[in-house]
Subunit: 202 residues, 4 copies
């Protein structure tokens, strides 16, 4: 089974394309793997707790977290998660972490464990703009990725783990009236299908 | 009849989304107006000559030129065309204009004559990122827009005239491997359909 | 005499580098020309009225307007002024023009009349980032440039007229805490000295 | 003693502002600490070897690496170094690492150990644009930072270690003729003086 997670809306955003993509992939099947798509709360404790419960309950072969990265123009395949929470804005519980670790006494960072080069090559061949990113930021996205990698490493779990950051949706940019890059939902979905095809075959 | 024009590929680009959009709209019908979609050569003399011949032959109610603007993130509704050719790269005939006028003794500029605010409101309501742009550059796009507005003004032709700049397509950005904004073909097409609906109703 | 104008602060800006540069150049001398530096109000009527009074009173050989263009990274040598006021924010009198002309029945645009290519070559040789810009926007900067070019043209005045847009100052970007380009005051001043040297010699 | 390192030019760059800043700080004194400024080769093995030799020879209290980050607009105070070399271009020896570790079997990452928040506050108060960056890239800059942090950690050395990325210089942007942010040499130097003042007092 492949676990795919998106996030609920946060900050000033009324929607979150990662939520829609996770829902759109739920129940799909890639290379013999069922996909379970769930939506995580934008909450400094509950997001990680939710993933750990899913890890225990479903024993997934792979976990693909998806999140929103305002101002990025391409799908960002994250290479690394760092042990720091330094929120630019509060989470949906009103909590704003400023420089604390995701896991006290955890290592400084974990590398993600999906085949990034292969995924990038497949996306590029499919005409979906993507790149390998060296920072997942210091908000919930990085924290969730770090927590999952920490849990998987600590328990010796087999799941390979990765994170894909999405651009804003066209609707969000139209509403904002600002010169920001966007990616249309069907293209994002096609991109994530490609990611899952490679992950399922790896 | 509404004349829609795109451009053929130029420079290092292997394709041009404006060509595909113009072809995709050819033969369509909006509010009682037939659409004729044609592809213009990226040539310092022939693009304008081609439009003038179409103007004489088809007597259109409106002309919507479409072109490619690398690095823009949204549909750009051009407000003005200026009487200058200052090409950053040569055209497809190998000619690079450097500071010469589009029309010797022509006025410095023409305003476009489509209802830009109405079009922008319709695009925004449809969730298509767009804005009103104050420069169409100084390459073939601006020149074609200027030439058409000059021809229409000089002959007292009824056609309203405008220009929509498109972002790069996702395929182009994927191939370039650069952090550049893009817009997917179906979304561009939906945007231009909205433009034509407003133009046809005006 | 060369008239140099800057603008007072506006919007959320507490300072305006164009004001400081205009003051810094006041009383200087370039190639036999005295420089008079003045600061214009960010006011939809008074800025133009002030320049017209200075034009009558001082009979300048050249007029170099300077203004602030948030988000630009280089000195922008404006090529053209268009007959439109379309303010993104209100001026300092609380007036927000939305699509009205600078001068009713004025021509759509005027080209500026300084030797832009020569100025750009001199700046580049001096290591000052600069480019020729095709839009001065639709706020006070464009309006002032348009009004001055209109007044000079209408009266047959000899003054050559241009506009240089400045990036934000480092202090403004440091305070904003945003990833925006800036240019340091001494470098801006050196750039404008180069502009005036070329203008004085032309 | 505080060790400050810059890099020699690389790629298509004819100069490197980090070299000039390191030279400009050599021999200066901050809060009782002498500064030794050295220029490192852009070489996949020799840069790290050079720093390790300096570490043994001079027993510095702090090490501030400085490097060039094209396209950044502000001083970037790096938070973390990751154990990966993934060069976009070859180094000056013609070697292009593609996905190999800086130190085989080294940990995934090290956090830098300078007081970043204090440094950022001091820079902001001084009007120098700066921010805390979460990625030093995957070229020589990140590799040198990683290697130094690894050496210091392994040997239990007291030196605190950090990295400051510089924007392009104005001369470089003027020569490139591209819309890229820059920072003037005197402002960069003032920024690094502020960094060293805080580091010396910590």
């Amino acid at each position: 089974m492949i676990l795919v997670t998106g996030f609920e809306p946060f900050g000033t955003h009324k929607s979150n394309p990662s939520e829609e993509i996770a829902r759109g992939l739920d129940g799909r099947r890639f290379g013999g793997h069922d996909v379970r798509g769930v939506v995580l709360p934008v909450h400094h404790r509950e997001a990680a707790a939710r993933v750990e419960a899913l890890l225990r309950a479903h024993d997934p072969d792979a976990i693909v977290h998806i999140g929103l990265a305002e101002a990025r123009a391409r799908l960002a395949l994250e290479r690394v998660a760092v042990n720091v929470m330094d929120y630019a804005i509060a989470d949906n519980a009103g909590y704003q972490a400023l420089g604390e670790p995701c896991v006290p006494d955890g290592p400084p960072a974990y590398f993600t464990t999906l085949p990034l080069r292969e995924i990038l090559a497949a996306l590029t061949a499919d005409g979906v703009p993507a790149y390998i990113s060296n920072t997942a930021g210091t908000y919930l996205c990085n924290q969730t990725l770090y927590s999952t990698l920490h849990a998987v490493t600590r328990t010796g779990h087999r799941a390979r783990v990765g994170f894909v950051h999405l651009p804003l949706s066209p609707t969000m940019v139209a509403a904002a009236g600002a010169e920001l890059p966007s990616m249309d939902g069907p293209l994002m979905l096609r991109g994530l299908e490609t990611v899952l095809r490679v992950v399922a075959a790896a």
